[in-house]
Structure formats: structure tokens, C-alpha cells
Amino acid sequence: MKLFEICNAPIQTQDVINKVIHHNSGAVSVFIGTVREMTGEKQTQFLQYEAYVPMAEKQLEKIGEEIQTRWPKAKAAITHRIGTLQISDVAVTIAVSTPHRQDAFEASRYAIERIKEIVPIWKKEHYRDGEEWVGNQKGNVSYPLGHPEGIEK
């Protein structure tokens, strides 16, 4: 069973949840990212996600280790889908179980923020009137410190 995974097929959220439920978990916080149609005035028709797969899975595991350090009783699993996704398709599912609920919420939220910082996955929006690689259309977005915050070498 792979706790941290990049996949091409639709994500089965229940499978991700089942990886983290155990006899001493009392709370599971699940985060599901879905494809939204409207962003401001822009209408998305579909998305494409691309990943540097082996490195992305390593980085997801690293997020798992960070969670373990901060919330020692937490158990986490993350699956991120790549390929072509339609409106309302699930792009990412994060599940974190803990004995008590506060930690579950915090760790789950931590995980999605870290995914957006350090995991080599890229999203291309296909709008009604064009397309763009998100966050880098003009090629002038850079990591302020030269590397994503908190990456350890």
C-alpha cells in the first residue's frame, strides 16, 4: 500500500481514507481538491496536470515525514492525480488521522499548503479563450528565496 502516490486514474477517496483509519484514530480530516469552473471571470473547460512523477512522490513522502515530526500520532496519505481532468474531477485527496480532531485539521491543512510549495506538479488551465500554465504564464514568477521555503537538503 502506497501512502503517497501520483496516479493517472480517478482517485477513489475512500481508498485514501482507509489507509489512515486505525484503532487509535478518533478523527480524520480529508481534503479534496476539485476542478472549479469559474476563477474570477475566467471559465475553465478542463485542466491538465503534469508531474515529475518519481520526484513528486518523494516530495509527498517528505510532507508525510514533516507531518510525523509535527504531529507524532498522525497518519497521513496523499494521492494526486495527473492527466486531463474535467470540471468537478478530484485532483488531490489528502487524509490525515489523529487521536484528536484539532491535530487532524491542522495537519491536513499543512499538507495542502506544502503540496503547493514543494511538489513538482504543474497545472495547465484550458479556458474558453486560451490556455496557460498556472503561476508562470509570464515566466517571471520565482521562488523568493531561490528555493521553496523549508526545503531541506
Binding site: Y49, Y52, H80, V92, P120, K123, G139, S142
Partner: protein, 79 residues
């Protein structure tokens, strides 16, 4: 020789995801980026990318050996 991997807008602009580059090695990450720009051209955003060596983020002065895999990582947008 080093293996170069490109993603997202970089791969799209270059028209490929994989390139091999011949150069004097070992060299720094910075030197590989410079050589890449000379050989392949100045892809939009190439100077702002992170670089991963063998699937781990690297710094400009880290050392690249023959046969290493160098990935240019544009700002990520997963989730």
C-alpha cells in the same frame, strides 16, 4: 554528459521533455544552467526555475557529475 528534464511551459517551448547535453563535468548547477541556455536557447522563465539533481532540489553551487539527471522545475502549481 548530463540528462536534462523539462516540464510544463519549458517542455512546451522546447518541444521536448528530455535532452542530453555534453559538457565538462563535474560542474556546478549554475554552469549546467548556463550551458543549457547556450545550447538550447533562453527559454522563458529558465532563470527563475529551481533545479533538481537526481530528484532532489539543489542549490546553484551544488556539483553535477557525469550521468546525473538535471530537472528544471518551474514554479509548481499542484493541489
Amino acid at each position: 554528459m548530463v540528462h536534462i528534464l523539462l516540464f510544463a511551459n519549458l517542455a512546451q517551448e522546447a518541444g521536448t521533455q528530455k535532452i542530453e547535453i555534453e559538457m565538462d563535468l563535474p560542474a556546478s548547477v549554475e554552469q549546467v544552467r548556463k550551458k543549457f541556455k547556450e545550447e538550447i536557447g533562453h527559454l522563458k522563465g529558465i532563470d527563475h526555475c529551481l533545479i533538481a539533481v537526481n530528484e532532489e532540489y539543489a542549490e546553484e553551487m551544488d556539483i553535477v557529475k557525469a550521468g546525473d539527471t538535471i530537472a528544471f522545475i518551474p514554479p509548481v502549481s499542484g493541489g
